[in-house]
């Protein structure tokens, strides 16, 4: 049942070898005052369906920028980004929003749960946006909280949860609409070692259950738990 809960709704392709993420010669420049910062300088990368990829590298090398482009919350200056064969690099805001809602789950370093909502309501929020009926979304939210080990914390507000528990709620929220891709930006960055290890185990479990994961991290343990490491430096992939 656990695996069903995590992967339900995935747009799993018949050809499991097809790259779920495909970036070709992607560049991303920012204006920083009068200067132009080249955050990404021609990145080409494929992530296979069911893969678990850790993007590592020094601060400022472009890891988070790369994750934002894969997550369709940013657009490249040039190059192409395709998710499950669909070009996402030039989507309108409305298209990108719908795409994220249905296909991508985000986990952030700082959890970013809505403090005014309970754990259950936080997890149910993306489903409400996807117009899932109230009964169904609350039931699935409860199942997801059980899946991440927080079945007994449904009614708690984020302020009543530990950092590790908040991150588990954030992971459950990311899985709410059964995304084809789970993206995490330093998910253990705010956690102590023990709690970080628990989250690493949860990610491994998720991947084992079929979720494709791309994680940006400085955490060696988390990176080592991934199936594949992508090393970046100065806006380029230097080892994949």
């Amino acid at each position: 049942m656990s695996a069903d809960v995590a992967t339900r709704g995935n747009l799993v392709s018949a050809d499991r070898e097809t790259a779920i993420v495909s970036l070709r010669d992607v560049r991303r420049d920012y204006a920083l005052g009068a200067e132009r910062v080249h955050a990404l300088q021609g990145v080409t990368l494929d992530v296979e369906r069911g893969d678990y990829v850790a993007i590592v590298g020094p601060s400022g090398c472009g890891k988070s920028t790369l994750l934002n482009l894969i997550g369709v919350i940013d657009q490249p200056t040039s190059g192409t980004v395709a998710i499950a064969g669909k070009r996402v690099d030039a989507m309108s805001d409305r298209e990108a929003t719908q795409f994220r809602l249905r296909n991508i789950g985000f986990v952030f370093q700082r959890f970013y749960l809505l403090p005014i909502l309970s754990a259950l309501e936080n997890v149910a929020l993306p489903m409400a946006e996807a117009k899932v009926a109230k009964g169904a979304r609350l039931q699935r939210a409860a199942e997801l909280l059980k899946y991440v080990g927080l079945g007994n914390r449904e009614r708690h507000r984020p302020s009543e949860l530990s950092g590790g528990e908040q991150q588990r709620v954030a992971i459950a929220r990311a899985l709410a609409n059964g995304p084809m891709l789970l993206l995490a930006d330093e998910p253990t960055g705010e956690l102590d070692a023990k709690t970080g290890t628990e989250i690493i185990s949860l990610f491994q479990q998720l991947n084992t259950d079929g979720t494709t994961i791309v994680v940006v991290t400085h955490d060696e343990d988390l990176a080592s738990a991934a199936r594949r490491k992508v090393h970046m430096r100065d806006g380029r992939v230097v080892e994949s």
Binding site: S64, T65, N68, G71, I73, D74, D93, R94, T97, Q98, R100, L101, R102, I104, G105, F106, F108, Q109, R110, Y112, L114, P115, I116, L117, L125, P126, A128, E129, A130, R173, A174, N177
Partner: protein
């Protein structure tokens, strides 16, 4: 879900929200009072004119009723002429004069109306008996209090005082038979009424004259047409319909209304600024939260809706509270202003009209929407990645 999120956002900083609602309530109260003030006197005056069902008034040419001491001669002929129009139902000629009333050692000056009690529309009998006979007089509370007189007392009434000879043109003993309330009279004015023939008999030169005619038209008849007909038939009178009178009042009160509208607009703007400030502060505090909502797939329009709901909720709560506050303050201010010397008792400065309340409520809700839309749209339009990066650095 969006309404629940908006409610949760507002209750997150309960104290701040309550303060904002109170601020909007004060602005709403001021707005309602100004809307009531802008239309109150006019509507109150209209209701006053209509209260006794006389749609047309005739005054001496070029004057307003009781504006001067001028009178209209030939009352009998005028009544005969008016009776030829089938749309004229009732005619009430009124003669006005100044009086001195003596009771014991007290001498009180005031005004007296000579009326026909069967068609008069100037007062309501509160107690006692109307002026059924030519030696009867009725008076208002102010006169009775000044004199210390009671129903049944005999009063010595004099009119037409000549300051040079220190004599009156007429003097007569009259029996006080009733206590009345003059509809167009002021609180601080001693007033009385007698039959018109009594006053004519006392006045000497006032024979067959009237200061004013009040006319009721037949039900369904066009009062404006009757007024036009009267002006053609009687060139020595000014015929004033309710509409004409209100137009004249409008002209006289226009500066007053403009002032009220300006103050009302200022109140609305203050309310708008309050809500905009609160929503902007709230949105800035939640920039990261909003970016995350957008990242997980919440649409821009839904973010805007949620924030606009917050603005509208504050405006609505403030408006409801403000309407109650506005009614209380309007009643208090009305009491103060109505005590202004010389004003008819029945005139209200602040007249509550459901339309005014709905207008104020509508304006506040519209301002709440306006106050929420800009900060909401700005927040929902920020680049998600950039907002998250800033939030992480902060």
């Amino acid at each position: 879900m969006r309404a629940a999120l908006a409610q949760a956002s507002l209750t997150r900083h309960r104290g701040r929200t309550i303060l904002a609602v109170l601020g909007v309530a004060v602005a709403a109260a001021m707005l309602l009072d100004m809307v009531m003030l802008a239309t109150g006197m006019r509507e109150s005056f209209r209701e006053l004119l209509l209260s006794r069902g006389f749609e047309i008034r005739l005054a001496p040419k070029g004057t307003l009723p009781f504006d001067t001491d001028a009178t209209i001669p030939g009352v009998s002929a005028i009544i005969a002429t008016l009776r030829t129009n089938p749309d004229v139902r009732e005619i009430s000629p009124v003669l006005g004069a100044s009086i001195h009333v003596l009771a014991g050692n007290r001498d009180v000056s005031g005004s007296v109306l000579g009326i026909d009690p069967s068609v008069q529309g100037d007062y309501e009998l509160l107690s006692g008996q109307d002026v059924a006979a030519s030696n009867f007089i009725v008076g208002n509370d102010h006169l009775l209090n000044q004199l210390g007189a009671h129903i049944g007392d005999t009063l010595s009434v004099a009119i037409g005082y000549d300051p040079q000879t220190r004599t009156y043109s007429g003097q007569r003993k009259l029996i006080l038979t009733g206590r009345v309330k003059f509809i167009y009279g002021a609180n601080d004015q001693s007033s009385a009424a007698v039959r018109r023939e009594t006053l004519e008999a006392m006045g000497g030169q006032n024979h067959d004259r009237a200061s004013l005619f009040m006319i009721r038209v037949r039900k369904g008849a066009d009062a404006e047409r009757v007024r036009d007909w009267i002006e053609k038939q009687l060139p020595n009178v000014t015929a004033i319909s309710i509409a004409t009178a209100i137009k004249q009042v409008d002209e006289r009160l226009s500066y007053f209304r403009q002032l009220a509208l300006i103050l009302g607009a200022v109140s609305l703007f203050v309310g708008f600024l309050l809500v905009t400030t609160l929503v902007t502060v709230s949105v800035n505090e939640r920039a990261g939260e909003i970016a995350v909502m957008r990242a997980i797939g919440v649409s821009r329009s839904h973010v805007v809706e949620q924030i606009v709901i917050e603005g509208v909720a504050i405006s609505l709560a403030g408006a409801v509270l403000g309407l109650a506050l506005g009614l209380v303050t309007a009643r208090y201010l009305n009491t103060i202003l109505s005590a202004f010397p010389g004003l008819p008792m029945a005139i209200d400065f602040f007249l509550f009209q459901p339309r005014a309340a709905w207008s104020a409520l509508g304006l506040l809700i519209a301002s709440g929407i306006g106050a929420g839309v800009y900060p909401a749209w700005r927040a929902a339009s920020l680049p998600i990645a950039e907002s998250l990066r800033r939030e992480a650095i902060a």
